[in-house]
Assembly symmetry: C2
């Protein structure tokens, strides 16, 4: 698919995907752009523009076919693939993500949890933490697509580069810095602090 | 401040804030729109539009005064206030957020962790989990500004309404549904699954 999707539209794809899944569960066959607008908080004309941009097709007088549009987005998002993930950093957040079950249901399987220090939980074997020195051997022996970084800001960049050298090309970064990698790596930075600051802004400036 | 800031610009404020903090730490006094563009991945003209939209001021030939612009954003974000937060849902993510120290440094203090079931950690008193039946008394006795929702999707909406009735007006929602509340409540929905799906998209569609 040689479709070029502008980044702001790409960022909304997972949201469309979620609402289409919910609509499909309600056994609804078609959805109009105004219904989608109401769900997503966009205008109907923006919905039509977005769907057009990612190559979805509606039917005159009926709206968009829910399942078809959902599958179309699924394909664009590459959701049909099985992705293997490792988590680097076994602090509270790393452990929470490691135990989170909903990712596996979506085809994202966590295959390892690494740290440079072995916590008491790791030593007690209640958590299968591997020492970071095992990283190179581990990634040589099995397919790892995505690294989740849940380590302190000051170690994120160097670790991301090391993971890149191990052949990993997907990075989901929770450290509060943007990591910089060659262009063939995909990075999504999750800045939890910024999300909380946005909430503070919305509390200060009600609609 | 009766400034109306468009939502896409508002969403970028925390990011500008972070880069300005980093620039200030480097003792840099002025920053140009093109430097900010490089940091943020926007164009220089978009940076100028954004700064204009949120009422920041540059100086001809010098760029933006870093500390002044940072403080300006701080004020807009309402970061000078002390906010009290409670977490509802003491699963892995709730516990990780409860133990996260960086929020308190920014003025967001977690004052309670609630659940409808008492985990073994709570019973062993290694975690100060309160039973949800104590919610009404707790919020009557002390100021709570923000509720962090880390509970299953099917309970999120009802719990958000209950918290709203307790007078809470800020909601940071990690449950994988959008919660709907009256307009005087501020809600930021964090959809971790969607963030992972965006990563999958970027891996499928490299720049």
């Amino acid at each position: 698919m040689a479709l070029y999707i502008p980044d702001p539209v790409a960022k909304r794809l997972p949201m469309y995907y979620r609402y289409l899944k919910e609509t499909e569960l309600k056994q609804q066959v078609f959805i109009s752009s105004s219904e989608l607008a109401q769900l997503t908080g966009l205008t109907a004309s923006q919905v039509r523009q977005d769907v057009n941009a990612f190559g979805g097709e509606g039917r005159q007088g009926c709206g968009y076919p829910v399942s078809e549009l959902k599958q179309h987005i699924e394909k664009i998002l590459g959701m049909s693939k099985q992705q293997h993930m490792i988590i680097v950093g076994s602090g509270n957040l790393g452990r929470a993500l490691f135990r989170h079950k909903a990712f596996a249901e979506r085809g994202f399987t966590t295959v390892g949890l690494f740290d440079s220090r072995m916590s008491s939980a790791a030593r007690n074997k209640t958590l299968p933490v591997k020492h970071i020195s095992e990283l190179e051997r581990f990634t040589a022996e099995q397919k790892v697509d995505i690294a989740i970084l849940t380590l302190p800001a000051e170690h994120a960049q160097a670790m991301a580069e090391r993971l890149y050298r191990c052949g990993i090309r997907g990075f989901w970064n929770f450290a509060p810095v943007d990591v910089q990698l060659p262009r063939d790596a995909a990075v999504v930075n999750v800045h939890l602090d910024e999300s909380l600051e946005l909430l503070s802004y919305r509390m200060e400036n009600p609609e």
